[in-house]
């Protein structure tokens, strides 16, 4: 699809020009810091998390049709899918720096770490001074598609990420480097439209391998493809429902002009090269009872996402085998994978400072994998219950029990039961919570 390059380039160029030109124009107007405004400077916060994990019974580790392209960095080879060891884990901690440059830019750096890894999760600038309700964000950030994707671990109502977010996008959701532009309409109903031009590196939707070495004169089909390789768009609506109720509805989608994958089998590489797209819906409703410490409050949310991967496949021997010599090419085909998933969850404040939640998930309601002769796998499910206690504002303790009911590639089902206990503490200047 070479023509996409032609469309993306000018669009990106235009956005960058807009991002650079408008704040400059804005500085030309007078802007001043009023004495006494103390909102300047650097805020630092530290979020520490500990997780006790117990796999009470082992089920199927990966839902059928979704093991491809899904790689857990901290999986110690025993196949469970949270990256947690049985027993005590340091969990996922974060160090957050936030600062601003007058009212022109906000800058955020978020460093995530666990026992073994340190990673820049987000590092971006957001404009504050564009006119007309526009805002541009540039850097590495969590995409604003859907609802939970842009939220960090300490903002979740459950210990782990919903399956649909993890398996359709990646272990960290859709987290990319690029540019985002949003526009907020001047309407009574909150209406936000946004587009993102992203580099395209997220395993589930825009996996990227780049050029692969030739074998015995046989060129591999994977070659370098310059970014941005992924474009997304989203719209969010939030009607004004008075002091007790609040809701937000979203629709989002994206197109990756490059989806590349390579698997090393015993004697051959299996290469995939093509494109992918996704679309989804999300909804959140919150009820505020007005009682103290969250007593009587409700939070309901749900998301649905559909993903299609459209690729050409070509296998090349790196070693002679029964099928042919080194460089031998076979299994050339084109196919599509069509998969989806959803979750719904509700959390209720059953006492002051105590809340309990339920989450129901389905992955692969449509689960057509085109590889080979093509197969349709069954749907995997998971049910989760949690109880959370917040003794003081910045601390919560959460107990969670999940039962996964995954299907394997042969259509067999097995249930696994997991228990988790999470302690999360926010230290320092903890930023304001988003809706």
């Amino acid at each position: 699809m070479p023509h996409n390059t032609h469309l993306l380039r000018p669009a990106l160029g235009g956005l960058t020009a807009l991002a650079l030109a408008v704040p400059t124009a804005a500085t030309a107007q007078q802007w001043e810091t009023r004495a006494g405004d103390r909102n300047w400077g650097l805020d630092i916060s530290l979020i520490l998390e500990g997780v006790y994990y117990n796999e009470m019974s082992r089920g199927i580790s990966d839902p059928a049709g979704f093991d491809d392209g899904h790689d857990h960095g901290h999986d110690h080879g025993n196949g469970h899918d949270h990256g947690f060891d049985d027993g005590f884990n340091l969990g996922h901690s974060e160090l957050v720096f936030e600062a601003n440059l007058g009212d022109l830019f906000d800058g955020v750096l978020m460093i995530g770490f666990d026992e073994d890894h340190v990673e820049v999760e987000e590092a971006y600038l957001t404009t504050r001074a564009l006119p007309g309700g526009f805002q541009v964000k540039a850097g590495k950030f969590l995409s604003d598609i859907g609802y939970i994707n842009s939220r960090h671990v300490h903002d979740w109502d459950f210990v782990d990420r919903p399956l649909v977010n993890e398996y359709l996008f990646g272990d960290h959701g859709l987290q990319e480097t690029g540019v985002q532009a949003t526009w907020l309409a001047p309407t009574e109903t909150y209406t936000q439209l946004g587009v993102e031009l992203l580099q395209g590196e997220t395993s589930g939707i825009a996996n990227y391998e780049g050029s692969q070495s030739a074998r015995n004169g046989q060129e591999r089909i994977l070659s370098d493809r310059s970014g941005p390789r992924l474009i997304t768009a989203f719209a969010k609506f939030g009607p004004d429902l008075g002091p007790d109720h609040a809701a937000q509805f979203g629709i989002s989608g994206g197109y990756a002009r490059s989806f590349q994958k390579t698997d090393e089998h015993s004697t051959r590489f299996e290469d995939w090269d093509g494109s992918a797209w996704f679309a989804g819906l999300d909804a959140v409703y919150k009820y505020s009872s007005g009682r103290a410490y969250g007593h009587g409050d409700w939070r309901l949310q749900g998301e649905y996402f559909y993903r299609e991967i459209d690729v050409d496949r070509r296998d090349v021997n790196f070693e002679a085998d029964g099928n042919g010599p080194e460089g031998f090419v076979r299994n050339e085909q084109s196919f599509k994978n069509k998969q989806d998933g959803l979750y719904v969850q509700g959390v209720y404040g059953f006492a002051p400072r105590w809340e309990a939640g339920l989450r129901a998930e389905a992955l692969g309601l449509t689960n057509d994998v085109g590889r080979g002769d093509g197969e349709s796998f069954g749907t995997s499910y998971r049910q989760t219950a949690q109880v959370t206690f917040r003794p003081v504002e910045p601390v919560f303790l959460r107990a969670q029990l999940s039962q996964n009911d995954f299907v394997d590639e042969h259509g067999d089902r097995d249930r696994g039961l997991e228990f988790m206990l999470q302690l999360n503490v926010a230290l320092g200047a903890h930023g304001a919570h988003r809706f």
Binding site: H3, L7, D37, G133, L184, D240, G290, E393, A432
Partner: protein, 308 residues
């Protein structure tokens, strides 16, 4: 070629979108210039803005008076309101820290950014009382700039009215004179009313409050705060803390005041063990009120105490 056609179409679409956007920039501020669209975080601030703004201002209050303004969500509807606002009026000093910065950021409206004339932070205009949290442990709400709950002090509200009238005048020079006059009249009424109410209260009243939110009553009524139901601001009352309060206050007289949205259990414990009367009072006037609503609120506070 088919994609050169596609490109032309895309270019045209982009051009159309750009023209609409440009028109929006040009038209919207012009329309808004007529009146002053003000968004206030609490209804005490809203009451002042409404009184000063008269017919020249449209005021919307975000925090309902029966809710704790420390704990709100940065709702989409807040962002939509702030997107259209010419002025954001906040109490400041950390009170709205849990949600307002997110709502402000999500509003994509430069006019109300920190540092812009359209952003009015009330805490910058008056001198704040020291907050207990400035000396205490790093727990609960840390009001490091001072106690932000000065909406319970009509004298500071009077000072605020003058500053607010000034600022509203800067934003709408056409109405500046009217704003300043109404602000002066409001300040006058607040001071007179405070004096009158204070004279009717029996002198040397001792009160226990829930949070440090009613501390400012000391500034204009003959009262002294002798304890808090919370062990530290933002930390719920504990049994041990309540028992020690009872031990300290045993054999003395006084009144327990708490906000309507705060749990009554701590106050009831004191009532049982000390025999002190307890009153749940609002901290802010109704969401749509003007100055009269606030004057009525002052009367509610004063009449919760023994009268001469």
């Amino acid at each position: 070629m088919s994609f050169s056609k596609t490109r032309t179409r895309i270019t045209r679409t982009l051009a159309a979108v750009a023209s609409v956007a440009a028109l929006t920039f040009i038209l919207l501020p012009a329309q808004a210039a007529a009146g002053l669209n003000i968004v206030a975080t609490t209804s005490s601030l809203g009451a002042l803005a409404r009184e000063i703004g008269g017919d020249e201002a449209e005021v919307r209050v975000l925090a309902p008076p029966d809710r704790d303004a420390h704990y709100l969500d940065a709702r989409p509807s807040f962002m939509a309101a702030l997107r259209r606002a010419d002025m954001l009026l906040e109490l400041g000093a950390g009170l709205e820290e849990g949600w307002l910065p997110a709502a402000q950021r999500g509003a994509n409206n430069r006019a109300i950014n920190s540092g812009q004339p359209g952003h009015f932070r009330a805490a910058d205009k008056v001198e704040l009382r020291r907050s207990i949290t400035m000396d205490g442990p790093n727990m609960g709400h840390v009001h490091e700039e001072g106690n932000p709950h000065f909406n319970a002090d009509p004298l500071r509200m009077a000072e605020l009215a003058l500053a607010l009238g000034q600022r509203m005048g800067e934003l709408r020079p056409d109405h500046a004179e009217a704003f300043v006059q109404r602000a002066e009249a409001a300040a006058e009424r607040l001071r007179e009313h405070a004096e009158k109410l204070a004279e009717r209260v029996e002198p040397d009243q001792r009160i226990v409050v829930y949070h440090e939110d009613l501390d400012y009553l000391e500034e204009w009524l003959p009262v002294e705060i002798v304890g808090y139901l919370e062990p530290a601001p933002g930390i719920p009352p504990t049994a041990r803390h309540l028992r020690s309060l009872v031990d300290d206050l045993e054999g003395t007289e006084g009144t327990v005041l708490y906000a309507e949205f705060q749990p009554p259990r701590g106050a009831e414990f004191l009532e049982r063990n000390l025999g002190w009367p307890t009153h749940a009072v609002p901290l802010d006037p109704p969401a749509d009120s003007g100055l009269d609503g606030y004057l009525e609120l002052m009367r509610t506070w004063a009449q919760a105490l023994p009268q001469r």
